[in-house]
Amino acid sequence: MDIGWYLVVSALIFSIGAAGVLTRPNPLVILLCLELMLNAANLALVAFSRMWGTPAGQVFALIVMVVAACEVTVGLGLIVAIYRRQMAINVDELNELRG
């Protein structure tokens, strides 16, 4: 397969994830859509790694996975904290910092 096809799939997944982040009000789903965007970047990295024949891109993809796991952990902790404070699980209503 052409490497270009993988990049097209990666771009589509990134666009879908960005659309989800911009349109969904639920922070859980926003985190899931962030995962989609990070995975699209991972797919592009691994595709370029295959193109050049060097595994450095795969190392980069693994580091991205680690960072994504950290982000998920902290994000889910925040959501649990929001739920404990009896606040709405909705990013449109969590606007107390608006000045």
Partner: protein, 225 residues
């Protein structure tokens, strides 16, 4: 053969991604993301990245998704409306999403695809194996490797600090109201001391004290348990 596998995996990955965004119930979104991740692991295998594919399935589809399922079950995955609430956001959100998609398509079709070699480089036989990746992690990319471990520890500690039940910051009556602590058990009931008969329960002790004279045997001073 690889073309057929690529298109099957790509269709599953895109379907899963659309499912994550479009499904109303967050629980189903998580399941759609699992489908997406497994299809993406198949794409990684087609790109000769065996170790990354294995890590994807084990770390993402295994551990991270289990975390998601637990939090969705805890918070409550009720059906929610798809669009945002605000007036301007309801229009601007999809417009910006479409703008990102159009921009990426222009970048793809305009220049990027023409500039890359289509078939990929010639590979040596150990490309993408755990041995290859591990050698790189311990030689050329040692500093990112160590920083990743530090970052994981910081994230774990941070998540525990964020999600723990705070004593002192919130009023303690909240917990009684919401049934987290149903009631205080009487002193010494349900403990080893009661089982071995060293201490009687408060009710029995009160009855015994009512019979006998209520002299010095204070319930708190006989330590030991």
């Amino acid at each position: 053969m690889s073309a057929v596998l690529f298109f099957i995996a790509a269709i599953f990955a895109l379907t899963g991604a659309i499912g994550v965004v479009m499904l109303r119930n967050p629980f189903y979104s998580v399941l759609a993301l699992v489908v997406h991740l497994i299809a993406l692991a198949a794409l990684f295998l087609l790109l000769e990245a065996q170790f990354v594919a294995a890590a994807q399935v084990v770390v993402y589809a295994g551990a991270v998704m289990v975390l998601y399922v637990f939090v969705v079950a805890y918070v409550g995955g009720a059906d929610q409306p798809l669009g945002s609430g605000g007036g301007a956001l309801k229009i601007l959100g999809p417009v910006f999403a479409l703008a990102v998609a159009v921009e990426l398509c222009i970048a793809m079709l305009g220049s990027a695809l023409a500039g890359i070699s289509s078939r990929g480089a010639h590979l040596h036989t150990t490309f993408g194996t755990p041995r290859d990746i591990g050698r790189l992690f311990l030689t050329a990319y040692l500093l990112p490797f160590e920083l990743a471990s530090l970052l994981l520890m910081v994230a774990a500690v941070g998540a525990v600090v964020l999600a723990r039940r705070r004593r002192g910051l919130e009023a303690e009556e909240d917990e009684y109201e919401h049934g987290i602590v149903a009631e205080h058990r009487p002193v010494y009931t349900g403990t080893q001391a009661e089982t071995t008969g060293v201490r009687r329960t408060v009710a029995l002790e009160a009855a015994a004290e009512a019979e006998a004279e209520p002299a010095g045997t204070g319930s708190g001073s006989e330590g030991g348990w």
